[in-house]
């Protein structure tokens, strides 16, 4: 399980990386944490002539607050973001979800943005990116910049719709607003293994404690994550006092999946559909509990 030959280049800047990637005409790969890329190269299930390490590019390591959002650079490691005070404060959903990614010994190297690019089925960060209306900031050959919403990136059943020879330089996630509740829930075979199914959700209540906005994103049930828009709309205007409402919402969210439920070695599609209901239910309950005390800081 040794990789085939490739050339390794430490990109000096993001532009440098994109130019080299473009010149490699599809045979180049971006290396950030490498926690997915390196094992795949070792198994020789993918190939590369050129591996571009972006971890030393200046200003890819920044975590910057913005207008209602926090932007995380491509070189930010998962373990650092898990513990970062700005992320914990403003993106508590992401901080919690990161604790479910693989295991600490992998998060020490993997990056948040790298997760988005890999789009592994059931991966936690893409699910959160949908729940937090994430915008990916792309750099294209020739220096062109482009924003792409996570929604558009994961619009197909599998993989990303990112343009080839592009580099995600950073991703902006919507910051938590006052009194917003959030919840993350996951079902796995055991800790350290993949998510069979997971859910990221946010809730904002109005003064009458009715749902003003809801985001329910489900991962693992289908190869790519999706937003359960119909379930979200059904919750608007409701109070969440009745558990049956949460349960109905969860059922709807699982049922409205745009693609078939995924069957693999670890679980059947039927199992995932059912477990998704439980996962969404638990995430919504957590979100409800967190938004019932509007002035309390997040856990």
């Amino acid at each position: 399980m040794k990789p085939a030959r490739f050339r390794y280049v430490r990109a000096e800047t993001a532009d440098h990386a994109v130019e080299l990637l473009h010149a490699a005409e599809g045979t180049g790969r971006i290396l950030a944490g490498g926690q997915s890329l390196i094992p795949a190269l070792c198994a020789r299930s993918i190939s590369a002539s050129l591996v571009l390490d972006i971890m030393r590019c200046p200003d890819l390591e920044a975590v910057s607050p913005g207008e209602g959002e926090v932007t995380i650079g491509a070189a930010c490691r998962q373990s650092h973001m898990e513990r970062n005070s700005l992320v914990r404060q403003s993106l508590p959903l992401l901080s919690e979800a990161l604790g479910w990614v693989a295991m600490p010994q992998v998060r020490s190297r993997g990056t948040v943005v790298g997760c988005l690019a890999q789009a592994n089925a059931g991966a936690e960060v893409p699910v959160v990116s949908l729940a937090l209306d994430a915008e990916l900031h792309l750099l294209l050959p020739g220096g062109a910049r482009r924003r792409m919403s996570a929604k558009d990136v994961y619009a197909a059943e599998t993989g990303t719709l990112l343009p080839s020879a592009s580099l995600i330089v950073s991703t902006s996630f919507r910051s938590r607003v006052a009194a917003e509740g959030w919840g993350f829930s996951e079902v796995q075979l055991r800790p350290g293994h993949f998510a069979l199914v997971c859910c990221a959700t946010t809730l904002v209540l109005d003064e009458d404690r009715r749902i003003q906005s809801a985001r329910i994103a489900i991962g693992g049930l289908t190869a790519n994550p999706y937003r359960a828009h119909r379930a979200e709309e059904a919750l608007i205007g409701e109070t969440l006092d009745r558990d049956s409402l949460i349960h109905d919402g969860a059922n709807m969210a699982s049922a409205e999946r745009p693609w078939p439920a995924r069957t693999d070695l670890h679980a059947s599609g039927a199992f995932r559909s059912k477990a998704a209901v439980a996962t969404v239910t638990r995430a919504l309950r957590d979100a409800r509990a967190r938004c019932s005390a509007p002035n309390r800081s997040n856990q």
Binding site: M1, R5, R44, L189, R190, H266, A267, F271, A278
Partner: protein, 793 residues
């Protein structure tokens, strides 16, 4: 008299090692990162091998083209079967009874491949990276043949044959009977017929396999290193395969990073790597990577068993009839027919079941070869019996513990002859001493069996399904036919023990040293132990079947006893005194006029003989093992299912066990807990998956999901009984495999119990994944409208 002895001798005399949780001295180098595993051994000027393996499950090999690969940088050679110059290229199988068809494996495929992962060509290069590059360029033309994957389809007369010349895929047959084998269903009040399915598993030791081979003495000898549980066997096979005399071949087994039966085999690589070394006249090495391991290291446990049990209305089992088929893969491993004969030999466990008839078959398919895996067929056997007991209990409305009590063999019935068997050279299965009822009661009490129903209700209130499963088993251990040991009192006054038992994690070095220290009345620090080198230990049977402590430790202790005799005889001769005037006590020799501590004996003898240097004194012992001994245990698993997620937890696990005299309770407990967790993994998640086309789908650690730290039961209750066995000079039996044997059955029963309200059949080893659980929960209720089971008939 102890009072007359100086303090240091009194201390030595009173020190007892047997029964103590002595810490392992071997831990120091392991904890510091040493340990000397094969991959850690210095390998200067060593070429690396990458094996080109079949991607086809069943095909004729039309052509192998290596020219492109040979041009790759760093490639030294590419070899196929004909290039190895083997005198003998068949690998050993030691459980072929008369009438068995010969499907022993060849070292490398020639004209036909029969499983994905089979070795087809060998690339030798300056390092593994370059070897893999070249291997990717080797071109093989396959003419595909229909793959045979399902053993029950393989027994169909009209189907594809793996070995057309044999005319069948059924290559082995064994019968075991007891009492009136022709008993009829009508003899009892209840007949249960069930088909049990056991899924394919693999051992996954943390250390993969590997082989290194080098010439020494200017090419006169071949030194082969492999982490094998059978170094002496490998040496003999190598000598035959390479057409070399035995004295020209040396095998050393480095410390083994986990065996579990996976390294109780002679593998193709263990022959082809030395053959390559000889051909190229250089040192070569092959380190298995994990993907290879899943494809071609020994697989295990897959079988189908049809059972018919005839039961009286009071729950006593009158008769059991079995037909079983093992899916042994494409060719024989070392002991491939053992799991299925173990089913026949051990299925009745500690239960009387006087009338018995079993017909067992081994079936070849296009999967990697099967071998034994911890428990060697006994996990499957115990599961069959224990599921039948629970089902009978349910249908006859008898309490589960009570039905077992009514069937258990009583102590005064032991020893008990269970019949002739083909299993493990045992000849006959004759249970030795034990107290099965006491063991069961101990487990029931410690597991709080009587309170379980209220526990179950409380869990139901929390929305969880709790179940309890009981299992008991009897395990064949400490098998023979013999074992040897050599022990020397070194010139420096310390002891050196040469053992045939390989350390695979079970702490054999410590256990054996404890026994010798106890025998000689010395401290353990004065004893060193060596193993795994055929130059030092040329005869030996090997490490398997839970024989390390009982047989290996037993023979070591007997060798120490023999050493004492030799020393006393030598001293008596040199001192010209009556042998009866000398005695061995307190770690030395008591003379009429004094005492010589062991450490001084070589010097003293040298003085008496007027030789310049002290010399070593040696003793050997060969322990003939007439019959194996039988450990037993009762396991009780309490598990809890979350119906929303299908997740299963095992909050409480209880074991009451008897392995005879315990040498080191710390190590014994480690074996039991480790074995139980392996059993948990086996029935909860582990499963080797081949698709219908014969492709292996579980190829990596994330595919084949091993138990993790969160899987060990939080409340693990362990209780020992020690009924010594008269079959071992020191009353010891084996313990290494029992945890896994009991766990399969206990958890299967607990799952069935948790789902007792549902119309669900638990008829095998699962695995009981969340998907399996969810599907079970979708089944209708057993009694619609009711959630409490009521008996029928």
């Amino acid at each position: 008299m102890t009072e007359d002895l100086p303090p240091y001798l009194r201390r030595k005399r009173s020190r007892r090692y047997v029964g103590e949780g002595v810490l392992r001295a071997e831990d120091e180098c392991l904890l510091r990162g040493g340990g000397g595993f094969l991959g850690d051994l210095p390998a200067p000027d060593t070429a690396e091998i990458c094996i080109v393996r079949s991607l086809e499950p069943h095909a004729v090999v039309r052509a192998i083209r290596t020219s492109r690969a040979l041009e790759n940088p760093g490639v030294l050679a590419i070899l196929t079967a004909d290039d190895l110059d083997l005198a003998e290229d068949v690998l050993p199988c030691v459980d072929m009874i008369p009438g068995t068809l010969d499907v022993r494996q060849h070292v490398m495929a020639r004209d036909r491949v029969r499983y994905v992962g089979q070795a087809v060509a060998v690339v030798v290069a300056v390092d593994r990276y370059l070897a893999e590059d070249a291997a990717a360029l080797v071109e093989i033309d396959y003419e595909k043949l229909p793959p045979v994957i399902d053993h029950m389809a393989a027994i169909d007369p009209g189907g594809t044959l793996l070995y057309p010349e044999l005319g069948t895929n059924v290559v082995f047959q064994s019968t075991q009977q007891d009492g009136n084998a022709g008993f009829a269903p009508g003899d009892g009040d209840l007949v249960i017929r069930r088909r049990f399915e056991f899924h394919r598993q693999t051992g996954v030791p943390m250390e993969t396999r590997g082989v290194m081979a080098r010439h020494v003495n200017g090419g006169a000898r071949l030194h082969v290193m492999s982490p094998t549980q059978l170094p002496q066997v490998l040496r003999r096979v190598l000598a035959s395969a390479l057409g070399m005399s035995l004295d020209r071949v040396r095998v050393t087994a480095p410390r083994i990073g986990g065996g579990f039966g996976c390294k109780e085999m002679v593998y193709p690589e263990e022959i082809l790597v030395p053959a390559v070394a000889r051909k190229l006249q250089r040192t070569v090495r092959w380190i298995e990577d994990r993907r290879e391991h899943f494809a071609c290291s020994a697989q295990a446990r897959e079988e189908t068993v049809d059972a018919e049990a005839v039961v009286a209305s009071d729950g006593t089992f009158l008769g059991l009839r079995l037909t079983g088929w093992a899916n042994i893969g494409a060719a024989f491993g070392y002991v491939p027919n053992t799991p299925i004969t173990a089913m026949a030999a051990m299925v009745r466990g500690p239960y009387r079941v006087p009338n018995f008839d079993a017909r067992m078959f081994s079936v070849v398919t296009n999967k990697a070869p099967l071998n034994v895996l911890r428990g060697a067929g006994a996990p499957q056997a115990a599961l069959v019996m224990e599921r039948l007991l629970d089902e009978a209990a349910q249908r006859l409305a008898i309490d589960r513990a009570e039905i077992r009590r009514r069937n258990l063999i009583q102590p005064n019935e032991l020893p008990l002859d269970r019949g002739r068997t083909d299993f493990a050279d045992a000849g006959r299965i004759v249970y030795d001493e034990g107290d099965y009822p006491r063991c069961l009661e101990a487990a029931l009490i410690r597991a709080e069996y009587e309170q379980f129903e209220s526990e179950r209700r409380e869990a139901a209130e929390r929305g969880k399904l709790r179940g309890l499963g009981i299992s008991m088993y009897v395990e064949i251990t400490a098998v023979g036919p013999f074992e040897t040991a050599r022990i020397t009192l070194q010139p420096d006054g310390t002891i050196l023990l040469y053992s045939s038992i390989m350390p695979i994690g079970q702490g054999s070095e410590t256990t054996q040293r404890q026994l010798v220290a106890e025998e000689l009345g010395i401290t353990m620090e004065e004893i060193a132990i060596r193993q795994g080198d055929t130059d030092e230990v040329p005869d030996g049977v090997g490490t398997f079947a839970s024989r390390g402590a009982a047989v290996g430790g037993g023979v070591g202790r007997m060798a120490a006893r023999q050493l004492v005799e030799t020393i006393l005889n030598d001293l008596a001769a040199e001192l010209a005194c009556d042998r009866a005037a000398l005695a061995w006590e307190a770690g030395g020799v008591t003379l009429p006029d004094g005492f010589i501590p062991m450490a001084e004996i070589p010097f003293r003898l040298a003085t008496l003989r007027q030789t310049a240097q002290p010399e070593k004194i040696e003793a050997r012992y060969r322990l003939e093992v007439l019959r194996p001994s039988y450990s037993y245990a009762a396991h009780i698993a309490v598990l809890e299912i979350d119906p929303e997620t299908g997740r299963m937890e095992i909050p409480r696990y209880t074991v009451a066990h008897d392995c005879g005299k315990i040498v080191n309770p710390l190590l014994v407990e480690g074996q039991i807990v480790g074995g139980v967790v392996q059993g948990i993994g086996a029935v909860l998640r582990e499963r080797l998956v081949y698709n219908a086309g014969g492709d292996l789908q579980t190829r990596a650690m994330m595919d084949y999901v091993l138990p993790g730290a969160s899987d060990v039961p939080a409340d693990f209750r362990l209780w020992h009984m020690e009924t010594p066995t008269s079959l071992n000079p020191f009353g010891m039996r084996g313990v290494g495999e029992g945890g896994t044997i009991g766990a399969h059955a206990a958890i299967a029963n607990a799952v069935a119990d948790a789902l007792r309200d549902y119309d669900v059949t638990v008829d095998g080893s699962g695995p009981f994944t969340p998907t399996w659980i969810m599907e079970a929960l979708n089944r209708p209720l057993r009694f619609p409208g009711e959630t409490t089971y009521k008996p029928t008939e």
